[in-house]
C-alpha cells in the first residue's frame, strides 16, 4: 500500500483553471506528482491511458455539457483500469451519483473510490488523507452523502438503537475511515473504536469484517437496503 505516502502519480480533470491550479499546488506541496491536468472528460480518458497514474481526481461537471461528464468518464475509467483509484469531486453532492460511482447498482466493489464535495479540498489535511485512502484501495465518501444515506435509510428503528457515539462511529465508518482514523477524529482510543464497531455490527446484524473497505461496503449496503 502506497496510500498516504508521498510520490503518487496523479491525473487531474477540472475545468475551472483556478481550482486546477490550486489542486496542483496542494498535490505538489505534498510530494505527489501531477502527471497531467486537463479540462474535460475526453482529455481525462486520454491522459489516464497515456500516463497510467495511481490516482485520478475528477470534477463531475465539465464541458461540453456541464452535467455529469466527469462522473461518466470516471465510471468508464474504473471499468477499464480496475486498479486505479478515482476521487470524484463536485460542488454539489448527488447521492445517486455516489451510488453510480460505488457500483452498488451493479453489485461491484467500492475499492479505490472517493466522492467528495469540492469544499473539502480547503481542508488540506483531510483532503490529502482522503486521497491516500482512495489510492490505497479504500473509500472516501463525503459526510454529506453519508448524512443523506443515514437520513433516507429504512432502518431508522435499528439506527435509533445505536448510542450517539456509535452513530458517530457509524458515520465515520461509512465515510471510509479506518479505526485509527476514527479514533483520531473522535479523540478516543483505538480499542474503544473497536468496541463501538463490534457493537454496531451486532446491533445492526451485520457480519463482522476486518478489511476497511469491505466494512464500508457492508455498512453502505445496509443503509441502502
Amino acid at each position: 500500500m502506497k496510500g498516504g505516502q508521498a510520490g503518487m502519480r496523479v491525473v487531474i480533470a477540472e475545468d475551472s483553471a483556478v481550482v486546477r491550479v490550486g489542486l496542483i499546488e496542494i498535490l505538489t506541496e505534498h510530494g505527489h506528482e501531477v502527471a497531467a491536468a486537463v479540462g474535460d472528460a475526453e482529455a481525462l480518458r486520454a491522459a489516464v491511458d497515456e500516463h497510467r497514474p495511481d490516482l485520478a481526481v475528477v470534477d463531475v461537471r465539465m464541458p461540453p455539457g456541464y452535467t455529469d461528464e466527469g462522473l461518466r468518464a470516471a465510471i468508464a475509467i474504473r471499468r477499464d483500469h480496475p486498479g486505479l483509484g478515482i476521487l470524484v469531486f463536485s460542488q454539489y453532492i448527488e447521492t445517486r451519483y455516489a451510488a453510480d460511482l460505488l457500483g452498488m447498482r451493479s453489485g461491484g466493489g467500492a475499492a479505490g473510490v472517493g466522492y467528495l464535495l469540492k469544499d473539502r479540498v480547503a481542508n488540506v489535511r483531510e483532503f490529502i488523507d482522503a486521497l491516500g485512502r482512495v489510492a490505497a484501495g479504500g473509500t472516501a465518501l463525503d459526510p454529506e452523502v453519508v448524512t443523506d444515506l443515514l437520513g433516507a435509510s429504512r432502518h431508522a428503528g435499528a439506527l435509533a438503537s445505536l448510542t450517539a457515539r456509535e452513530q458517530d462511529v457509524l458515520g465515520l465508518m461509512a465515510e471510509g475511515r479506518s479505526n485509527s482514523g476514527i479514533a483520531e477524529r473522535l479523540v478516543i482510543s483505538e480499542r474503544a473504536v473497536e468496541k463501538h464497531v463490534s457493537n454496531i455490527f451486532t446491533k445492526l446484524g451485520l457480519p463482522a469484517s476486518d478489511a476497511d473497505h469491505r466494512r464500508v461496503l457492508a455498512v453502505l449496503a445496509y443503509l441502502r437496503s
Partner: protein, 473 residues
C-alpha cells in the same frame, strides 16, 4: 392602446368651437370618406371569391388579406393598433397501419393529437405525419402504411379569423355608407347654412326684409350647429368602424387569447428557467470556483504556518505562507468583483430608486454617447420597470455592438397605462427580429407582459426600436 374617445378637441366652449378646425377632425373626415371606396372595393374582391365553395382555398387568404389591409389602414391613419390574429394552422389527419397501434396511439396522444384506435389501425388528428413517423422510429415501432391529409382545406374552411374578416368586409359597406351620409350631411349642411347669403337670393329683399333676415339667421344658426356637431358625429362614425375592427379583425376570441397567453406563459417559464440556469452557471464557474481556489490557498498556508514538517516553522515555510495568503487575497478580491457584476445582472440596485435613475446610470455607462430623454411621472410597477431596464440595456448594448453608430438616444416616457421606451441610433440600420436572435428574445420577453416591440431599421439607418409596456403587469 390609443384612447378612441375625445380626439376631437378639448373641453369647454373653446374646444367646441375649435373642434372643426383640428387635425383630428380632418383625419377622421378623411378616413370616413376613404372608407367608402375601401369598403366597396373589399366587398367586390371578397364576393369574387365566395360564389363557389371550391374557391374557399383562395377565399380564406383573401379574406385574411383584406383584414390585414383594413387593420393597417386603421393603424396608419387613426393609430388604432389591433394585433393580428394567429396564422392559419392546418389540422393534419393521418391514417396509420401498424401492429403496435396501441403504443403509437399513446405516443401521439402525448403530442396533443386526437386519436382513434382500431385493432391495428390508428387515426390521428393534429399531429403531422412526419412527426408520427419520427415517434414510431424512436420507439422501434414498424409502420406498414401511412396515409395523410395535410389538413389545409379543413383549416381553410374552419379558419375563424377569415370568417370574422368576411363579416367585417360585409358589414363595412353599410356602416361606411351610412357613416359617410351622416358625416357628409352635417359638414356640407353646416357649410351651406353658414354661407346661405351667397347662394340664397330672393327677388325683393326690401319688401320682405324681415323674412329675409329671419331665414338667413335661421340657416346660419343651423349651419353653425351642424358644423360644431360635425367633428363629433364623424368621430362617432369612425368609432363604429374602429370597434368593428377591434372585435372582428383582432385575435379577440377567448380561445385565441387563451392560446396566446399559454404561449407567452410557456415562454416566461422557459425564460426564467434559462435565466436561473445561467445564473447558476455563472456562480459555479465564477465566484464559487474562486472561493474554492482561495480556500485551498488558505488551507495550504494554514498548514505551512502550523509547521506541518517536523522541526517547526522554517523561514521557507513562512515565505511560502505569505505568498499563499497574498494569492488568496487577490482571489478574494476577484470573487467580490465577480459577485458584484453578477448581482447587478440579476437586479441592478439603482432600479430601486426608480427607472429614471437606473436609465441615467445605464446611459452614462454605455460604450457610446447616449442622449437621455426621460419623462416618468408616476412609477410603473416594479416588474415593468425591470423589463424596461433590461430592454434598454440590451438595446443599447446592441447599438454599441452591431450598429456602428456614433450616437444614440434613449427615451422613456410614461403616460397613464403605457410606458414607452425608445432607442434611436445613427448607425447602419438593417436590424431585424431574426438577426442575432437577441431582438427576438427581447420581443418574446416583452410579450409575456402584453407589451409590444416595433423595429424600424432601413438599410443605411437610422434604427428606431420602440418598446411599449403596460404600466402594470
Amino acid at each position: 392602446m390609443t384612447a378612441p374617445a375625445s380626439r376631437t378637441g378639448g373641453l369647454g366652449i373653446r374646444g367646441l368651437v375649435r373642434a372643426p378646425f383640428t387635425l383630428h377632425a380632418w383625419v377622421d373626415l378623411g378616413y370616413a370618406i376613404l372608407n367608402v371606396p375601401v369598403a366597396i372595393g373589399g366587398f367586390v374582391v371578397l364576393m369574387s371569391t365566395v360564389w363557389h365553395p371550391m374557391l374557399l382555398f383562395v377565399s380564406t387568404p383573401v379574406a385574411r388579406g383584406l383584414g390585414t389591409a383594413n387593420r393597417e389602414l386603421a393603424d396608419r391613419i387613426l393609430g388604432e393598433r389591433v394585433p393580428a390574429p394567429p396564422p392559419m394552422r392546418p389540422v393534419p389527419h393521418v391514417h396509420v397501419k401498424t401492429p403496435d397501434a396501441g403504443a403509437l396511439a399513446s405516443l401521439a396522444a402525448a403530442e396533443g393529437g386526437k386519436v382513434k384506435l382500431q385493432l391495428n389501425r390508428l387515426e390521428v388528428t393534429g399531429v403531422p405525419a412526419s412527426r408520427i413517423a419520427e415517434l414510431a422510429a424512436s420507439e422501434g415501432i414498424t409502420i406498414s402504411e401511412l396515409k395523410t391529409h395535410s389538413g389545409w382545406l379543413e383549416a381553410a374552411i374552419r379558419d375563424k379569423p377569415a370568417w370574422r374578416a368576411r363579416a367585417y368586409v360585409a358589414l363595412k359597406v353599410p356602416v361606411s355608407l351610412l357613416g359617410l351620409a351622416a358625416v357628409g350631411l352635417t359638414w356640407i349642411g353646416g357649410v351651406a347654412g353658414l354661407t346661405s347669403l351667397i347662394w340664397l337670393q330672393e327677388g325683393h329683399p326690401v319688401a320682405h326684409v324681415f323674412r329675409y333676415v329671419a331665414i338667413h339667421l335661421l340657416l346660419m344658426l343651423l349651419g353653425a350647429v351642424a358644423l360644431l356637431a360635425a367633428p363629433r358625429l364623424t368621430n362617432a362614425a369612425v368609432a363604429v368602424d374602429r370597434s368593428l375592427i377591434r372585435s372582428l379583425l383582432g385575435p379577440s376570441t377567448l380561445a385565441e387569447r387563451v392560446r396566446d397567453l399559454q404561449k407567452s406563459r410557456a415562454h416566461a417559464v422557459d425564460d426564467s428557467a434559462a435565466r436561473l440556469r445561467s445564473i447558476e452557471r455563472d456562480l459555479h464557474d465564477g465566484a464559487q470556483a474562486q472561493l474554492v481556489g482561495l480556500a485551498m490557498k488558505l488551507g495550504l498556508a494554514k498548514e505551512k504556518l502550523g509547521g506541518s514538517t517536523e522541526g517547526g516553522l522554517t523561514a521557507a515555510d513562512l515565505d511560502r505562507a505569505v505568498e499563499l495568503v497574498d494569492a488568496a487575497h487577490r482571489g478574494a478580491i476577484e470573487a467580490i468583483t465577480e459577485l458584484r457584476v453578477l448581482a447587478r445582472g440579476i437586479h441592478p440596485p439603482v432600479l430601486d430608486n426608480g427607472l429614471a435613475d437606473a436609465l441615467a446610470t445605464l446611459a452614462a455607462r454605455s460604450a457610446l454617447p447616449v442622449e437621455l430623454v426621460v419623462d416618468i411621472g408616476e412609477r410603473p410597477s416594479a416588474a415593468i420597470e425591470t423589463i424596461a431596464y433590461f430592454c434598454a440595456a440590451e438595446l443599447l448594448a446592441n447599438v454599441a455592438k452591431h450598429s456602428g453608430a456614433r450616437h444614440a438616444t434613449l427615451e422613456a416616457v410614461h403616460v397613464p397605462g403605457l410606458l414607452r421606451v425608445r432607442v434611436t441610433d445613427d448607425g447602419q440600420g438593417g436590424a431585424s427580429m431574426d438577426a442575432g436572435g437577441g431582438l427576438r428574445g427581447l420581443a418574446d420577453r416583452i410579450r409575456t407582459v402584453d407589451g409590444r416591440m416595433d423595429i424600424s431599421s432601413p438599410r443605411g439607418g437610422p434604427t428606431v426600436v420602440t418598446v411599449e409596456l403596460p404600466s402594470h403587469a
